[in-house]
Amino acid sequence: MSNAEVTSLIRVENVDTHYDSLKVLHNISFEVQPRAITVIMGVSGCGKSTLLKLLIGLKKPTAGNIFIDGKNLVNMNRRELDAFRKRIGVLFQGGALFNSMTVGENIAVPLRVHTKLSEETIRIMTQLKLEMVGLAGFEDFMPSQLSGGMKKRAGLARVLAMDPEILFFDEPSSGLDPITSAGLDNLILKLKSAFGMTIVVVTHELESAFAIADQMIVMDKGEILAQGTPEEVKKSTNERVIQFLNREPEEKYSKDSQFLETLIGKI
């Protein structure tokens, strides 16, 4: 862990990507600052989940570059990609816990595979992580015995097991009630302030986004509509951004005559 002069930790440059022949991301460019929380938001289908997949190397862009600490993610070989992944943590929706193991065994998986730490050390670390996410004492529970919110916290504990520098959250609030969601937001803020983690959150929940974001990126239909601090984004004059922030549904109603025509036929 060095204190090198980093201006941005992740830099996305002119990225396009496709699913087969359908273009889902258009000319995406932005930077993720270190030790800050960047929130990528937009309506369902705007391309934010795809963008997340690109950032963690699960999908390759069809055009453009993604620089992590100066190295281009697109050109990384297996070894470099593995090294990158050991520095990051990704929390998937639902927590992605392994169903055949207890919570404690789940958290220990990366430690057992990647390190030579003793069982006792791993056990203590598991307890430390569970305490950090508010699940102390749950190490012997099976995932099926946990509620949705608890599964996410357990998944987060596993993600934190290797003390990653960069965290990615995919829709952290999905399926959570407002109180649990706020608790998770506080945890994310704590991770930034106490550990200096760089955090990227993909979400469509406005309240959470404004509660935690240092930097916001608003997307729609595969493009970035606005980016900047929450205040800057709130001041955006882009119509779709204003619609999104005010939670106004898109006008999809057709003209009266068109509508009647499809119902009854030409009059």
Partner: protein
């Protein structure tokens, strides 16, 4: 007419693509066997899951298969006055054909479908992506132990099937139909040669690889192809896996038999 041709063409292309995808999967799974992490305990767990859990079904099926062989064999052989050959007939049928094939089919239904569903659920819950993001190779961590476990368990189960089947055949042939016990056993000992046992062993290994390859592959990509997402994708994948495995076992049976005769 053009529509029919283009539909056929699409079907053909999809089939080739699927074949290529399966080949790639086999390659990655094979490499995964030799990559870290260490798999000793997870392999043992899989041998337990596939072997132990299929034991009851295999034994039960074997007993009745052997018994039917005893009945039908006696009926057929008695037409030529060759009841004394019942022992040979039962043993050879089981060791060369019925043992490997029926064991494979039972394991496919019992363990193969369960494994496919298990991996399929992992896929739709993003557990496989989670592994990749932890720099853990899913082929090495999840698939390889299952492959090794199946290759160890299925031949052992086949051997058990053979033995239980022969006991069943003896019970019916000697106990019910009155064949001379000495003749039965002598027939068995004399007509079963090394090459017969080899054929059974080769088939059981071959079928083990086929079953685990197809079931793991279908589960691994469950819910990711167009038209079948989420839980429906897992159910579809499991059905496809069982059907394809069963068919390929029978096709493979013909191929191995003709190659080894």
């Amino acid at each position: 007419m053009i529509n029919v041709i283009s539909a056929l063409g699409k079907y053909g292309i999809d089939w080739v693509r699927e074949l290529g995808s399966m080949g790639l999967f086999f390659y990655n799974a094979f490499l995964g066997i030799f990559k870290p992490p260490r798999k000793f305990y997870s392999t043992i767990k899989q041998v337990h899951f596939i072997g132990n859990k299929s034991l009851a079904v295999v034994s039960f099926t074997a007993a009745f298969s052997g018994m039917v062989l005893g009945l039908q064999g006696y009926y057929t052989l008695s037409k030529f006055g060759s009841e004394g050959l019942l022992g040979s007939a039962v043993a050879l049928s089981l060791i060369r054909e019925l043992g490997p094939v029926l064991t494979a089919l039972m394991v496919t239904g019992r363990a193969g479908s369960a494994i496919c569903a298990e991996i399929g659920i992992m896929r739709i819950e993003e557990q496989i992506e989670a592994l990749e993001c932890m720099a853990i190779d899913p082929y090495s961590y999840i698939i390889a132990p299952k492959v090794l476990g199946c290759i160890i368990a299925v031949p052992l189960l086949t051997a058990i099937f053979d033995i239980v089947g022969m006991i069943g055949g003896y019970a019916i042939g000697v106990g019910l139909m009155g064949v001379n016990p000495g003749a039965f056993i002598w027939g068995m000992k004399n007509s079963v040669l090394n090459q017969d046992v080899w054929m059974g062993v080769v088939k059981s290994f071959f079928f083990a690889i086929l079953i685990i390859w197809i079931c793991c592959y279908k589960g691994f990509w469950a819910g990711t192809r167009r038209g079948s997402f989420g839980a429906e994708g897992v159910s579809k994948a499991t059905t496809e896996a069982v059907v394809l495995s069963s068919v390929m076992v029978l096709v493979g049976d013909y191929i191995v038999t003709s190659l080894m005769l």
